[in-house]
Symmetry: D3
């Protein structure tokens, strides 16, 4: 069984992430979407809230699991018996950072492969930080995130 | 069975390509390496020669097949019952072109997904055109291609 | 009256170009879409054919004219009493080339300003060369160009 | 009357910004330079100080107004009856961010168009953050900002 | 005597930096590796600790000195009678920032030239921030930094 | 004695190249400007003409020699006892290509180092191909190349 891990902050999950997940589940036998812990930035949503929003977004996908983790990504992927790390590439600036991380992770774990996927053109500009900025300024996020996420954003801002 | 197609000119196959193939076969049940026809550029090697060099390079990989094709890539992938197109990303300039092709192919065939993989850092600068240039100027290509390819290059230049 | 010139090869015009034109006519009093002559590449379509296809695409826009020119762009823009050159930016690789051309044109004619516009996200991957490639391989171009252009491509390939 | 809005932090205004403004006023009937509020970063100068420095820099331009705003940019532009948002592009890194914002703003307000302009080559490296850094280290900023801005920087640092 | 200055945060020094230094000493009569002070970010290591780690890394190089400085880089280089500033370029994102800084420094001191060098391909992904992140997550940094630096990281994290 | 080699097509030499050379001679004891042979493209000017134009441009620089070569660059640099290859970087697109060539040359000759220099901001957009294009369209090239080169261009076009 081929297992792929899709790590990220998902703060919050967007239509761009969901597009990646819906395609990943057609390529791998199991896809684990996992919320990573980032020491530097304080997230808007707790890890529990973020997992909840992901679960609500992928409930229709049989071979998709939701999790969260601490520590080195490659150690987590090994524990999960994963062979692939999935990363989304929307833009050039993603590329540089992702390129370095992929080389780094390969040097740490030669048997785990990073594969990159691109979301649909209509989600090129969609990112969690944009969602937070638009929501924070009182803009409409209904084209960026599912309704249940939009509601969570409103609650958080209230 | 998950089938992935890895298309390219492979004029000739390099260690960078081989690195991608060796990792792809761990992620998919079958990987078809396929030589594409490019109308604009005249290749150094015929499609038959290029297939031969690929076969010699991947002979140890059980779930890897070698083929060539004409016409639209997505039509070929459909005929082969593939769900994934594999593309290597070495550098930023690759990214732009590949990004456009991935969006294009998705608009032509929504059920086929392009996945990108990066070769090892030591192959970042290796490309078929560089191999041809170095070989053409009498340089040593032993760090860029397998021995059997180096011999083919010498023969072609003689 | 503010006049803007939108130069290009338009070989052939695509939905991406049309999107730019439809927005440009809301910003300027007159927009001249002009087919440039390129010494290096032989176009698929003659200048007359390309102008014809553009005219058919913008017939609904009152303040849009179609033309073609030879020689330096800035000389042409001066003759037309234009103050702006419009260029589309779809991707990073466009940016580099366009950046150089804008600086060059400014050094040749200080009173003419290049303004850049981005087509809709759904046209990010659409270019004339892609249209020619897909059409040449027998693919469907109905999402890339208007029907009358698709028919011209078929005729040209027949 | 065609109205364009040029938003930014202008913390402080530089010769690069002024170059953009001086060209924008030749393309549009009215240009509103507007100081945006950024929640994440604390500016060096207050919104009032920044507006004052902009006014002193554009006093010779009849069709240029200076303002500041809170909330979503597209809402502000609509209130001002603007049809264009002007953004400067100095470098590739600008491009990525600006590309996303332009797509985002278009998805929020289809009738407002972002146009990009490039400052003169001699201002390619000039940014407000560079001005602050050089000033903070005691360097000479006379080639980067007008005299009245240089004086404000000295006062702020004293 | 041609003197080159290699400034940086070196927080901490990595194999990538050391690769640059080992090549720079073959090109210039003297190379001064100098720790710069960065107002915005708090470093993990003090300037003294960073100098110590650099000294331990370059002890075998006769024409290499280690120093630290405050204020404008070009002023420091002038005081040291340097004619060149050395900067490493690993990736595209470096390029943009470095390009601006090189133009800026040239405008501040016309007689000082910035030269760029690229580390070996195997260090493309190595940066001080990556070292800190991997060390912070308990990963193995032995392929990224010398042993004495790895020990310092462990001590700092304890 | 530190010898640096500055290879290129120089078809023709521009103010951008000359700016690089004038700075390189302050960093190295001898700089050899050398015209490379490119199999793929037919140059406008013969190697002899290109050398002549370079010589006329650098006649005032005591430690600068002009030459031409065939074959692998690193072999030529070794024969000339050079330790450095100088390359100009004007833009991002240069970077990608130059990055690959630098890695390649390092893998072919570990003891030769590529150093990159940036021309003055006012020459960012200047390239030999732009000079040929502007001259070919009858534009003024006096801001791009020295007078003696402008005369050669006119003669060639006559």
């Amino acid at each position: 069984m081929k297992i792929a891990v899709y790590p990220g902050s998902f703060d919050p999950i967007t239509f761009g992430h969901i597009d990646i997940i819906e395609r990943a589940v057609t390529l791998f036998d199991k896809v684990i979407v996992t919320v990573s812990q980032n020491f530097e930035k304080t997230p808007w949503f707790t890890a529990a809230e973020r997992c909840e929003m992901i679960k609500d977004s992928v409930s229709g996908l049989a071979n998709c699991e939701v999790d969260h983790f601490k520590g080195l990504l490659v150690d987590y992927v090994s524990r999960m018996h994963g062979t692939a790390i999935i990363r989304g590439l929307r833009a050039l600036s993603d590329f540089e950072f992702e390129f370095k991380m992929a080389l780094m992770n390969r040097s740490l774990a030669e048997d785990i492969t990073t594969v990159f996927m691109m979301p649909h053109a209509r989600y090129t500009h969609v990112s969690s930080s944009l969602v937070r900025e638009v929501a924070g300024l009182g803009g409409d996020v209904s084209m960026l995130v599912p309704d249940h996420v939009a509601r969570m954003l409103k609650k958080k801002l209230a």
